[in-house]
């Protein structure tokens, strides 16, 4: 090989790898220290945030998307949409000229059209040839958001028009369509893989319309992306994006400080002050769209009496929990939805922390020698930095009013399974991070009668409350919905199925030369608007 050919081969290789090798030094590369490896690259197959970041956020788009940092939606692959008067038909006008990514493994021959949208939803239904295209495929978000029952049909009207027909009106539908499991995938790519008999590649080598296109995944190590040159919003500022899988929170902080990555998430609360003090770093803290709670089992005596639950709530020093467990990076929770969410009822006052009054209320309710089990969650979640410590603080608070607490804990999977069983014994520390910014995603998911046995860990079925949120889910007028959700929160506070504990701040730390990062309210991480100074 002569020198010229060698040079040509070298530059081709450098281009192939997105200019990542020592040669493409001028390219703008951001390394993001992520907390876990992605499950795969099909955004509809997984529920973990690490996978949604690596797929739905980086590679794909949805018909509608959340405005950066907000919970309102804006047009994305759909330029506009209309909803029929009966709230059953959603008609989307697709954006013309949107290109799927051209990668080393797929070259699209056509632009995005209605076939892609129809396929993106139809494939997730039982009975579709794609329902089981890899062993163990199950579309848990599609199922969990009730889409199989909610969606009657997804039809192509013409090349750039799609009509989604529902079985009943559903006001949160548009927000649901902005979630990552609703990502629009390429039917042309899927058909090619099916013809080749290599369908599993659909979950290994993604093709979307999003800001970054997939280059390579080194198992449990790093994901490499390059900017999508044909991105419909115009090429993003970064040339390359790398996810460096770094499971340990303390190590992520060290990597950021050492310059091995330029942005990271979820540091230990104890490390935040140190990060803020570092002159080379910026720390962004946002109120997370989350809540942590102590869910009483409302089916068991004496916790089936609202007055007992209210009395216990008065015994909890939430401020002490926020200070000791969240190290001040949170706020005591009053309502089951966070204050940043629309329809949050500001007029509701929290149960006053008053051990004496709590004691008197318990006596009045005829409860003596009360004892209960408190479940301490064994894992760290953005809404709960330390379940064990929280349980200990609750134990000491309850001891002050004469209630004996036994702290129990189980392995996380077992914890979730047992806590879902309405017959479980004790009050469960648990929480939630919103998926889509709609109050329905908290109130119906966590507290409706329909969710008893799964995500309603208080096993609380209150007809008045459920009727209000069911009604709110079918009316489309936002003002009317707001009123209904505000009323539902009043019922919640009166009945007290939970002690609402805290809403946490979500921390992102980055190098000073990183700009344009907008933290998402839903705990996903998007790098579309990010830039890095050289």
């Amino acid at each position: 090989m002569n020198t010229y050919k060698k040079l040509l081969a070298a530059s081709a290789l450098a281009m192939l790898t997105g200019g990542l090798m020592a040669g493409g030094a001028s390219a703008k590369t951001l390394v993001y220290c992520s907390e876990a490896a992605p499950g795969g690259f099909d955004p509809a197959l997984y529920t973990g945030g690490e996978t949604l970041d690596a797929t739905g956020q980086a590679v794909f788009n949805k018909l509608v998307e959340f405005k950066p940092g907000k919970s309102e939606v804006e047009p994305a692959l759909a330029e506009s949409w209309t909803i029929s008067d009966d709230g059953l038909q959603y008609t989307f006008k697709l954006r013309p000229g949107v290109k799927f990514q051209t990668t080393s493994y797929f070259t699209p021959t056509r632009d995005l059209n209605a076939d892609d949208v129809v396929f993106s939803f139809e494939r997730q239904k039982e009975g579709s040839p794609w329902a089981k295209y890899v062993d163990g495929a199950s579309y848990e978000y599609f199922e969990g958001m009730d889409f199989p029952k909610l969606i009657k049909s997804v039809e192509k009207v013409d090349d750039l028009t799609v009509k989604i027909t529902l079985t009943k009106p559903n006001a949160p539908m548009i927000a649901n369509l902005a979630m990552d499991f609703s990502s629009i995938v390429s039917k042309e790519y899927a058909d090619k893989l099916q013809a080749d008999g290599t369908q599993q590649k659909f979950n290994e080598q993604p093709v979307g319309t999003g800001p970054f296109q997939f280059v390579d995944y080194q198992l449990n190590t790093a994901i490499r992306y390059e900017a999508n040159p044909t991105f419909w919003k115009g090429k993003v500022k970064l040339d390359n994006l790398i996810f460096a899988v770094t499971p340990d929170a303390a190590v992520r902080v060290q990597k950021l400080k050492a310059g091995e990555c330029q942005l990271t998430i979820y540091p230990d609360p104890a490390d935040v002050e140190g990060l803020k003090a570092d002159a080379n770093l910026n720390v962004v803290q946002e109120s997370g769209l989350n809540v942590s709670t102590l869910a009483y089992n409302t089916t068991q005596a004496p916790f089936d009496k609202p007055e007992v639950r209210k009395a216990l709530n008065m015994a909890i020093d939430k401020k002490a929990i926020v200070d000791a467990v969240y190290l001040g990076q949170g706020t005591p929770a009053v309502n089951p939805i966070p204050p940043t969410m629309w329809s949050y009822n500001k007029s509701i006052k929290d149960d006053e922390y008053n051990p004496e009054a709590a004691k008197a209320a318990l006596e009045k309710a005829g409860v003596k020698d009360l004892s209960l089990k408190i479940w301490a969650m064994p894992v760290v979640r953005p809404y709960m930095p330390n379940g064990r410590r929280t349980a200990e603080l609750l134990q000491s608070d309850f001891a002050k009013v004469g209630v004996k607490v036994e702290i129990v804990s189980y392995d996380w999977q077992e914890y979730l399974k047992r806590a879902s069983d309405p017959k479980h014994d004790g009050a469960v520390i648990i929480g939630w991070t919103g998926d889509n910014g709609d109050p329905d995603n908290f109130l119906a998911t966590l507290l409706s009668c329909q969710a008893v046995g799964s995500s309603n860990r208080a096993a609380w079925c209150n007809k008045e409350f459920t009727d209000l949120i069911d009604k709110a889910a079918v009316v489309s007028d936002v003002a009317e919905r707001t009123k209904l959700y505000e009323e539902a929160q009043v019922v919640f506070k009166r009945e007290a199925p939970w002690a609402t504990l805290a809403h946490s701040l979500v921390t992102t730390a980055m190098s000073k030369n990183v700009s344009g990062y907008v933290p998402s309210a839903f705990g996903v991480h998007n790098f579309e608007s990010v830039d890095i100074a050289e």
Partner: protein, 335 residues
């Protein structure tokens, strides 16, 4: 010889059955199940749970599941992960070289430092060096790996900037691995600087993983040497005027090495336990972290398949060693 080989190979059958049974049953004895992990906090309705358990085949009689697991292994199918939907064998083959490379380096580190330290401590028994090195060995042995790892990262990577924090290689280097061993791959196909990067990434995890074996080997070498140095034949060797270096290096050391080599063998097996923590701290993409994640998610398929693959490798290595013994030492064949 043929009878010997046949007997060793036949012995693998009950071993295989025993291990496959343990691998299969171990994860199922833990509470929880793999399906619930798919939905996270959201949970799932009992009906959906039942449906998925049926689809994955976890509702079948346990013996039926076991036989299909063994049957599939005989056909080279170790299953597909419930959580990631990837083939267990493919993931194992990708991740195992990382664990092996780290384990070998940790063992080399422990041996190269531990044996001379042990010898020196024994020869200079009671000296400052002896007391200091054995004191350090005791501390090293009792050190929690997690704390030790973070401490080294903060000091060498965070403050002194001598080593990288974590990972196997600087992410600016990107090439397709050939062997999966970064030190080798970076030499074969990596760009300039890749080998240095791979080496510098290995330093801290090697020290962390090698610390406990180092302490054990140093202490074992010291006590074995002390025992041998007190033997009559060593005194005789000294009396006949042999140079001290020759007495220690040839006469004493060779006999002292027998228990040390046994210790090294045992420590190699124990490294796996340490590797799980070391891999987590250093974001090292090996099978230790992979298996722990699978246990946490109750990913039955990965746990049973992964354990079986590790066992098969150990069984194969043992078989080869047994056969080599027989080649080297004919008396074994006769027995």
């Amino acid at each position: 010889m043929f009878r010997y080989i046949a007997s060793r190979v036949l012995l693998l059958i009950p071993t295989f059955i025993g291990i496959s049974f343990i691998a299969f049953i171990f994860i199922r004895l833990l509470p929880g199940d793999p399906v619930i992990a798919l939905a996270g906090e959201r949970g799932m309705t009992p009906e959906r749970h039942q449906l998925l358990m049926e689809q994955f085949g976890f509702n079948r009689p346990i013996w039926e599941q076991y036989f299909s697991f063994v049957w599939n292994i005989f056909h080279g199918d170790f299953g597909t992960s419930i959580a990631s939907k990837r083939a267990v064998l493919t993931d194992f083959l990708t991740l195992f070289p990382a664990t092996l490379e780290l384990s070998i380096c940790a063992m080399l580190f422990a041996t190269i430092i531990g044996i001379p330290a042990g010898i020196f401590a024994a020869v200079k028994r009671g000296s400052v060096f002896d007391q200091l090195s054995m004191g350090i060995a005791l501390v090293g042995y009792s050190m929690p790996i997690f704390w030790w790892g973070i401490l080294l990262i903060i000091l060498f990577a965070g403050i002194l900037h001598w080593t990288p924090v974590s990972g196997r290689m600087d992410l600016i280097y990107f090439f397709k691995p050939t062997t999966g061993f970064m030190l080798i791959d970076s030499l074969i196909s990596g760009p300039k600087g890749a080998f240095k990067s791979a080496f510098s990434h290995l330093v801290l995890p090697t020290i962390v993983l090698g610390t406990i074996p180092l302490a054990v080997i140093a202490r074992q070498t010291r006590s074995a040497m002390l025992e041998v140095l007190g033997e009559d034949y060593v005194r005789t060797a000294r009396a006949k005027g042999l140079a001290p270096r020759r007495v220690i290096g040839v006469h004493a050391l060779r006999n002292a090495m027998i228990p040390v080599i046994t210790t090294i063998g045992l420590q190699m097996g124990l490294l796996m336990a340490g590797a799980i923590l070391t891999e987590t701290i250093f974001s090292w993409p090996g099978i230790g972290k992979w298996m722990i994640d699978a246990i946490a998610k109750r990913d039955y398929v990965v746990v049973q398949g992964g354990l079986m693959l590790v066992a098969l490798i150990v069984m194969t290595v043992n078989l080869i060693v047994d056969l080599l013994y027989a080649v080297v030492n004919p008396r074994i064949r006769v027995k």
